[in-house]
């Protein structure tokens, strides 16, 4: 193999890993925001799939990938409202009402897709988005194609993560939101409505995960498949713990899982004699292993999972 070929292979692999990292990282940031406010949402897998279906149908209908992203966000918002009413207003068990978003999201996503494309003879696709090559930087070997020649939708996802990190760390509303997860009594004592901030955090979280689903369907795969999320929403929940509820660390952790996904894909196409079932299991086994060995220096939000009652 020539050095150029090796470089090309390596940057292709890194693009694969960063694709995974962006989708899972964005969903993890969504889950982190919700958990920071004290609400546990285990339904991100269902939200992501519904976001993917909504995003794909919207992108196809409007023939515009940006409208697709909005469709994904709208799908996430819809399920988020359901979750927020059941968790924050009705104060039902958060583990259960989150889990229920999975069958609801999968069912609704498939219904939407089949309803819109009923009678289509071949699987519908949306065109890929032209990458936004940044002059000069995109020519850097290895890192150029990975960091500086991606689709504008991918940069939008990155910008969104930056925005959320800034919001949580630096704005008054973000700090209040975190207080709702650490010490809701203190907020209440100061006359601030805890449930309002928690409601907002749930809805923001699912909107981000819906965005992630649309990114997966519209920007990365250009198609919709009922099993396309393949556990990404669950891995995102594990990543929140590994990332210590901090957005940028979550993105970094997601990149680690992206590497395991990339390894299984590369080994498969190189036809190494390892059972492909073992390779496909790698990201899932890695998730369990990391959760088992990880000791984060950051502890979970003190009031996580507990509905606030006066």
């Amino acid at each position: 193999m020539t050095p150029e070929a090796i470089l090309q292979l390596a940057s292709g692999a890194l693009v694969f890993a960063t694709n995974f990292a962006l989708v899972v990282g964005l969903a993890a940031v969504g889950a982190a925001v919700t958990e920071r406010a004290g609400v546990l949402n285990l339904g991100h897998e269902g939200v992501m799939l519904f976001g993917a279906a909504g995003g794909f149908v919207a992108a196809h209908a409007a023939n515009d990938p940006w409208v697709g992203l909005l469709g994904g966000v709208a799908g996430g918002l819809a399920l988020g409202l359901l979750k927020a009413v059941w968790s924050v207003l009705l104060k039902t068990e958060q583990v259960i009402n989150g889990l229920l978003l999975v069958p609801i999201g999968f069912g609704l996503g498939n219904l939407l897709f089949k309803h819109y494309f009923s009678g289509a003879l071949e699987p519908p696709r949306v065109p890929p988005v032209a990458p936004l090559g940044i002059p000069l930087l995109e020519d850097i070997p290895l890192l150029g194609p990975v960091l500086f020649d991606r689709s504008p939708l991918a940069y939008a996802a990155l910008a969104l993560i930056a925005l959320v990190a800034w919001f949580l760390a630096r704005t008054r509303a973000g700090m209040t939101m975190r207080a709702a997860g650490e010490s809701p009594e203190t907020l209440d004592f100061n006359g601030i409505a805890v449930d309002r901030y928690r409601f907002a955090a749930v809805v923001i979280g699912t909107a981000l995960t819906g965005f992630a689903g649309a990114l997966l369907a519209v920007d990365q795969l250009h198609l919709f498949h009922p099993a396309m999320t393949a556990g990404r929403g669950w891995i995102a929940i594990a990543i929140v713990i590994v990332g210590g509820w901090r957005p940028w660390v979550c993105l970094a952790a997601a990149f680690f899982f992206g590497i395991t996904d990339m390894i299984q894909f590369q080994v498969q196409i190189q036809a190494v004699p390892v059972p492909y079932e073992l390779l496909l299991s790698l990201p899932y086994l890695a998730t369990v292993a990391v959760l088992a060995w990880w000791h984060s220096s950051v502890r979970p939000p003190a009031a996580l999972g507990e509905p606030y009652r006066r």
Partner: protein, 366 residues
């Protein structure tokens, strides 16, 4: 102990007092009230679903009629429903035990596949002349052992390292399905047989059936286990310990309850039940291993346990109800072209409504 505030002032208790109340009668009335609440929630869920079907441009009454006819008009439709309810019943019994302790395992899907794979290994590995009682016992034992071992991993991680069991059991579900498909593709591959399935099991490894029907031994086994699980949940110290852990783990530990041990026992029990479900499916229904063996049984059973509000006896009607919905939805898809995905949304909404009904009842009588 569970506090019972205002119980003496509630209408039902007053009625019970008038009838010469005993604690048993009071408990009965409380049960009746909870059943009525679930029925009300299910009714509301049906109305919402009907509105949704209407909004998509279909006829909800026709859908209901086709659903009912698919399940009840023919004997074979009814048997299909019972056969699909059986794995749901077994897996949901295990979930109900765990959920009472607020141990939220959703690992039934993977454990089901491990149980089926182990039963398949025994059935295809032992000589075909094995006497049926010996063969079936060995297959069931292997299935229970394999699935319980699979459940031990997330159980130990939860009990000793505090790993979130929802995430770990889900991840292991994906892997468990891969384990079975790997076995089908390699170890148990028969070159004469088309891909994605094994050869049929020898006769000795078929569950006996009732007369000419397809109702097999596994159905009876599942029903027979209901009182056993009900005893574990409500009739003995183990169930009380599990419930105490669910109510307050710190206080239970202070009171001398072996919290990690109880949690691991719950995982092993739920794994064993799910493994039994997998074995019953291959020994009683398919008589071979095949890819796509489970119709999401492990996930639908979560909803079954929740609809039954984790009560082992109530799991029977809940499993039959959700199985009827799934079987009925297939009929609706064929006849009316309404995608069967609908039923997943419907089941999720039903359980959401049950949660809401409980929350509203709590608010009225805090």
């Amino acid at each position: 102990m569970m506090p019972e505030p205002r119980a003496t002032r509630s209408g039902a208790a007053a009625l019970a007092a008038g009838l010469g109340a005993t604690p048993r009668a009071d408990a009965f009335l409380r049960g009746a009230r909870e059943t009525a609440r679930v029925a009300l929630a299910v009714g509301a869920g049906v109305l919402v679903a009907a509105g949704f079907v209407l909004a998509l441009g279909y006829d909800p009454l026709a859908a209901l009629r086709v659903m009912f006819e698919t399940v009840f008009r023919s004997w074979s439709g009814f048997v299909d429903t019972v056969l699909q309810a059986t794995p749901l019943l077994l897996i949901a019994l295990g979930y109900a035990l765990c959920y009472r302790a607020r141990v939220w395992t959703v690992g039934g899907e993977g454990q089901f596949h491990l149980g089926a794979a182990a039963a398949g290994l025994v059935a295809l590995g032992l000589p075909t002349a094995t006497p049926a009682p010996v063969g079936l016992t060995l297959a069931l034992a292997a299935a229970i052992a394999a699935a319980a071992a699979w459940a031990l991993v997330p159980g130990w991680l939860r009990a000793h390292r505090g790993v979130n069991e929802v995430v770990s059991t889900l991840m292991l579900n994906f892997v468990g399905i891969f384990v079975m498909s790997w076995l089908i593709r390699t170890v148990l591959r028969d070159p004469e047989i088309p891909l994605l399935q094994t050869a049929a099991f020898p006769e000795a490894f078929h569950f006996p059936v009732v007369g000419q029907s397809r109702l097999h031994l596994g159905v009876a086994l599942a029903l027979a286990l209901v009182p056993a699980v009900a005893y574990l949940a409500n009739g003995c110290a183990f169930g009380a310990r599990a419930q105490a852990i669910g109510a307050n783990p710190r206080a239970s530990r202070a009171a001398g309850v072996d919290v990690p041990g109880t949690i691991i026992a719950l995982f092993l029990l739920s794994g064993a039940l799910a493994g039994l479900a997998g074995a019953a499916q291959v020994l009683g229904v398919t008589h071979r291993l095949l890819v796509g063996l489970s119709h999401d049984f492990g996930y639908t059973a979560v909803l079954v346990a929740l609809l039954a509000r984790n009560h082992p006896v109530a799991v029977i009607p809940a499993a039959f109800f959700f199985s009827a919905l799934v079987v009925g939805a297939e009929g609706v898809q064929v006849e009316l072209r309404i995608p069967s995905d609908f039923v997943r949304v419907f089941m999720g909404i039903l359980v959401l409504f049950v949660l809401a009904a409980d929350a509203l009842a709590r608010r009225r009588a805090p």
